[in-house]
């Protein structure tokens, strides 16, 4: 059984945004700190460190997860996706990111990386949500700047354009 002593460090191998990655961590290191400090991914934002604000949200094996409530040692062998996974091959914004920009869904951007990851996972599970459901999903995040209205608009627009696309006969 994998076992790591409290002062010991262990090598963690995982898939980060589609590429194999690894780093050392002691058991108490939170995934959020590991990604920021060891892997250098500063897009993982840390707000409250107790699961309330949602700033640190990313995806583990596709599921949305609070990285501040996950230990780095737990991601051995797993797939971790941050907001970088949304970018296209030349670094271009995807449709959701572009819609966020268009609808002023962000101001300071602190909450945004987490929300984009939640929304991405949410739309995969539920490609046709109503406004109520979108708001319910957003309730897992705190944004101090925008008032959420722009985000709701952006997500609705993406829903509409993705479903229009999927209807076009190939």
């Amino acid at each position: 059984m994998p076992q790591v002593t409290s002062d010991g460090r262990t090598l963690i191998n995982f898939i980060l945004n589609g590429k194999p990655a690894s780093g050392q961590a002691e058991p108490r290191m939170l995934l959020s700190d590991f990604l920021r400090q060891v892997a250098g991914l500063t897009e993982v934002h840390v707000g409250c460190e107790h699961g309330i604000c949602g700033a640190c949200t990313l995806r583990i094996d596709g599921e949305p997860a609070r990285s501040c409530l996950t230990f780095a040692v737990q991601i051995e062998g797993r797939r971790v996706d941050t907001v970088q996974s949304l970018l296209g091959p030349r670094g271009e914004l995807n449709d959701l990111q572009a819609a966020f920009r268009k609808h002023h869904s962000l101001q300071c951007g602190y909450c945004t990386t987490g929300i984009l990851m939640s929304a991405t996972a949410f739309l995969e599970k539920n490609p046709n949500p109503g406004e109520e459901e979108i708001r319910d999903m957003l309730s897992g995040h705190i944004c101090r700047c925008t008032g959420y209205v722009g985000m709701v608009r952006a997500i609705k627009e993406v829903v509409a354009s993705r479903s229009a696309k999927s209807k076009v006969p190939a």
């Binding site: 076992q3 409290s6 107790h50 409530l69 230990f71 040692v73 939640s118 897992g140």
Partner: protein, 276 residues
């Protein structure tokens, strides 16, 4: 806010997990989804010497519909149960309560059994388990498995009948009984946040059962056999006082009593409607 250091174990089977618990019982905390435990560790309210991560135990990730119960294994997430297609037809109360448990982003990790084992007095799932008269399966290396009723399991604030060498391996929710209606109501500052008060009702021709969470130290259930409609308000008022809620930053005792009366009435009415 960083957790204090601990030793980490990730057993791959239940046998390994129970063996570890038998050897180190008091020093071990069990980590499943971590949505309640890790915040407490980050605040250093809990500083386990050893942390046993059970998420790799594949055999505990199941939902099993039996004739009278739905059994949910220890590593099954709340999201998985909520997405289970038979949930609304077999355990409607849980289907109504689960959307209030945390958020989309925490239900994906948080487990059903973890929420019961953590036994926060404001938690929705222990409340449902109490109202339905469900049970908890505890396993240990020394004494094997035992089934404990919800009433005997949760003893108080974050306090349960689990011995240190035992682990909650499953919970059992009784399936819906014909002619019975169920309803769930809660008041929280933000949807998905901890409830100030949550109520669950079960109504059949044999009577009314109402459970309240968030007011007393644990979910509290009361049964009324033939309560005439005219007596309902008085009965709810008496129940609200008996719970002896207190003031805290989320609400005063007066407000909590009012919530018990109002939400209680609403839930009972709704459950009555759902019987048909």
């Amino acid at each position: 806010m960083k957790p204090y250091k601990f030793e980490y174990f990730r057993p791959a089977s239940l046998e390994e997990a129970l063996d570890l618990l038998a050897r180190h019982s008091e020093d071990v905390r069990i980590l499943a989804g971590g949505q309640s435990l890790v915040p407490m560790m980050n605040f250093r309210l809990v500083q386990p010497k050893k942390l046993m991560d059970i998420t790799a135990i594949k055999s505990l990730d199941y939902i099993r519909a039996e004739r009278d119960t739905v059994e949910v294994g220890a590593t099954t997430t709340q999201a998985k149960l909520l997405e289970w297609p038979q949930l609304a037809s077999t355990v409607p109360l849980v289907a109504m309560a689960l959307p209030h448990v945390g958020h989309f982003q925490t239900r994906s990790r948080g487990t059903v059994c973890g929420s019961v084992a953590h036994s926060d007095p404001v938690s929705e799932l222990p409340l449902c388990l109490a109202v339905l008269g469900g049970s908890v399966i505890l396993s240990s290396k020394k004494t094997g498995s035992r089934e404990v009723s919800a009433a005997d399991f949760q003893l108080g604030l974050l306090l349960t009948a689990r011995r240190y060498d035992e682990m909650v391996t499953a919970v059992r929710f009784p399936v819906r009984q014909p002619g019975t209606g169920y309803a769930f109501q809660e008041m929280a500052e933000r949807k998905g946040d901890l409830a100030v008060c949550a109520v669950a009702a079960k109504v059949s021709d044999r009577g009314i059962r109402l459970g309240v969470g968030g007011v007393a130290e644990k979910p509290t259930v009361r049964d009324w056999n033939d309560l005439p409609d005219s007596g309902l308000d008085e009965a709810l008022n008496a129940f609200a006082w008996d719970l002896e809620g207190s003031d805290d930053i989320h609400g005063s005792a007066v407000y909590r009593r009012q919530l018990v009366r109002r939400l209680g009435r609403r839930a009972i009415m709704e459950a009555r409607e759902c019987r048909k």
